[in-house]
Symmetry: C2
């Protein structure tokens, strides 16, 4: 069974890979490999036996073909910014990292599409087309580091998902190296899908179909005007009620983000934006579209915020202030590092009308487990991101973090929601799949996976819970040193 | 092989189905069944041996389970408005028609979703939520007849696809009766997909995964303001150039539709809207969004139209005029019936910058085959709909129609496009799949299909070309009488 591959990689196999990617495309020294022991989900770690860094699709195909012939499982990786352990290199000994595949292969501005390699950083796509008045919309908080390949694997979202949809809504096609080394083109460069939507099902498959080496992306025009607003509330409940009321009014903001007091304090301590640290919560509301329509829309948003108890509502006066607001939001995760040695970002979804309830539940769960939990999230989507603060040197705390995380996800499901909004399943959420899927559902998904990866060698041990072994698997594989 | 099922349905099998759906749920008299011999693609016809009209998911599951046990292939059908023969009942003797499953099961207005049965008519969804300021966006021209089940099967588009996306972009989940009779729920009622996006791959699978019995739909707020404009051009080339220029300017119209002189003449003869029948082409441009932004946007569109040679640009003065414009567009296909005894609507896509080229090619192809071809299409998407006029009593004309259609699709592919934008493959486009897909691609798709339908009994003889038998298959199965 691939999932239980234990053998060391042979010298012959290593030499074969070296012949494909060259000396500089291979990391075998322990010190070099340790960097790759986890992604942003740090509760489990495992150092890969070998890391290869191919620079072309041909090299990826060559490496994967060699792995197929040797029966070696592999784990694909982009920038390693994932948050659910999707590129945890266990039990796959071979890591194939596409971060050196950084070419933008083609830009077709008139028809608004770009073909980029998997290692291209998300924000680099928008930068490349900005002068033409275009953008690539999906904007994960890690957009200055995360890669398009990883975005496709995780079907990443971001603040602007609310209005514009997640990665799959902006993906026209992918170049996929199947686990037998064959290079497939799924989808195409035009808007409409012909035949089954294999691009769609590959998006979000977390590396279990093979390795995405390039993607054809849809570009969107930059909106003519953008207005970004900051509303300050005394309580989280007032802020989430406001979210429901804005949406109910028929306004579709480009983004609608909430940060609670814990997060505001952390952000303020790190960056000194001048946020009120005594407020219960703040909302960042962004509206976009034809410039002439924005003042009236901003006035309506202001009115709704005030009617829902906002202490203050402020419209960013200029681009600098606007950029500062977004910087605060996008760096919130990093700023949390000031509050505790470790943190674990959860990812759940509830119907957006249930936000007040889930936040009350999170508070109660945190108190019961003696854990501080901050909240920063895509409120308009009902996509919550409780950040659980802890110290990973304290084994008991780690156990409580895992337990609290599980309880939060179960509460999301009980409120009609789901256990992941945008971070994927990885190793973190395997057990929670059972909260939403029965055996038949999982069997169907496994059969779909087998179409692409019959031998189960592409990112084994992810997504699908191992029967009977879930609890043990969930315990940290290695207690990390700080 | 299911695809070559020839046996007649047994008396035992018929009695079993009658016990499930009752006497009124079964059509066995030839006269009743003849209605079901084709959909909107009339070049091929075949009367089903038996039509069942279940009213509940349980009945569908019972019928499908009985068919599985008897080894009988089946073809699902909604309203039969499809345009590629997706519900042509050959070679499946049993048709399962969901048009009596018309319940709206649940409306959740606060979270903007609806759960509707497969037989609910598209336009009925928007009507049901209109008072709450909401709509279901995808709007095929047949929206007053076509059903949600059929929309899901074909991943239908419509004029507003340009800004808002096709069916798959508004579909959160489906209830699917697998070919063994098992009822699966794919996706869920919240925004984000957990695990593989099986809803996405089921959408557009044209009944080859089983029978969709219900769908969870995303609702969208009605835009605050809508402005609809009519621009009249001397030539098709001027109109298509205008399309490119509007898009290039960064404006994303809600819809951008073109009709050429042939279509305008037909529409005018049928409905007397007062369109100029001497114009080369007209464009319907619709913009929507916050009301305050629309006048400036309309002025920009007007300016672009005039700069590209528009003879006149007129803004619909009121809702009545706006409704009339859309009525003209949506009834264009019907109006064409005045010009010839029969017509065949083609469906292709090109990158929108190639519209002038493809339209020139269509004109040339029509002239060479001595066929009159009208054009009415979603110009903003590059999704063309040449309507080939003919007389189906004339065998030679039928052959030329088929040949011209094939040449148009090949020309789309040569220009970097595709062979179907929104009508699906059905039986009509099976051969053309080979223009875009190699054997490996088709093998992968067949394996995906086998996950859902291992025995190949769900809508056999669709999508996938039968090796070696394409040309024969393409000839009309039965020359229709008028």
């Amino acid at each position: 069974m691939a999932a239980h591959y234990q053998a060391s990689l042979s010298g012959v196999f290593r030499r074969r890979l070296r012949a494909i990617v060259g000396e500089r495309g291979l990391l075998s020294a322990r010190a070099d490999r340790t960097v790759y022991e986890c992604d942003g989900y740090t509760l489990e770690r495992s150092v890969p036996e070998l890391v290869v860094l191919p620079e072309t699709t041909e090299q990826v195909a060559g490496v994967v073909r060699a792995a197929a012939q040797a029966g070696v499982p592999f784990v694909p990786r982009g920038a390693g910014t994932g948050l659910s352990g999707g590129c945890l290199p266990a039990p796959a000994p071979l890591m194939v990292c596409v971060s050196r595949m950084r070419r933008i292969r083609a830009l077709n501005l008139a028809n608004r599409r770009a073909v980029v390699e998997a290692g291209v950083v998300n924000a680099a796509v928008s930068r490349a087309v900005q002068a033409a008045g275009l953008q690539y919309v999906p904007d994960p908080s890690s957009q200055n580091a995360c890669t398009i390949g990883g975005n496709v694997a995780e079907n990443s979202g971001g603040p602007h998902t609310l209005k514009y949809g997640v990665t799959t809504n902006h993906l026209l096609g992918v170049e996929l190296v199947l686990p037998d080394g064959e290079v497939m083109e799924l989808g195409d460069a035009i808007e409409d899908t012909l035949g089954y939507d294999l691009t769609g099902v590959a998006c979000g498959s977390e590396g279990t179909f093979g390795i995405v080496t390039a993607a054809t992306l849809r570009l969107e025009p930059l909106p003519e005007g953008v207005t970004t607003m900051l509303a300050v509330f005394e309580t989280v409940a007032d802020a989430t009620t406001t979210v429901s009321r804005i949406i109910a009014s028929g306004i579709v903001p480009a983004a609608l983000e909430m940060m609670d007091r814990t997060i505001v304090e952390a952000v303020e301590a790190a960056y000194h934006f001048g946020f009120p640290t005594d407020a219960g919560a703040i909302l960042i509301v962004e509206i976009d579209g034809p410039a002439a329509g924005l003042p009236a829309l901003a006035a309506r948003v202001t009115e709704i915020c005030r009617a829902s108890g906002a202490r203050s509502v402020r419209i960013a006066a200029d681009e600098a202030e606007r950029a500062a607001l977004w910087k605060s939001r996008k760096r919130a995760f990093g700023a949390v590092g000031r509050l505790a040695p470790s943190y674990c970002t959860q990812d759940g979804v509830v119907p957006r009308t249930r936000l007040p309830e889930i936040l009350a539940r999170i508070e109660e769960i945190g108190a019961r487990h003696r854990l501080r939990i901050g909240n920063v999230f895509h409120a308009g989507d009902g996509n919550i991101h409780p950040i659980i603060l802890y110290d990973e040197r304290d084994r008991d705390q780690v156990v409580r973090v895992l337990e609290a995380g599980r309880e939060i996800l179960a509460a999301c499901v009980a409120l009609g929601g789901s256990v992941t909004g945008e971070h994927g399943i990885g190793v973190e959420k395997m057990r929670e799949l059972g909260l939403l899927f029965g055996g038949d559902d999982l069997a169907l998904m496994r059969r779909v996976r087998a179409v692409f990866d019959p031998a189960g060698r592409a990112n084994p041990g992810k997504i699908f819970p191992t029967p009977g072994g879930c609890v043990e698997q969930r315990a940290p594989r290695r207690q990390a040193a700080v």
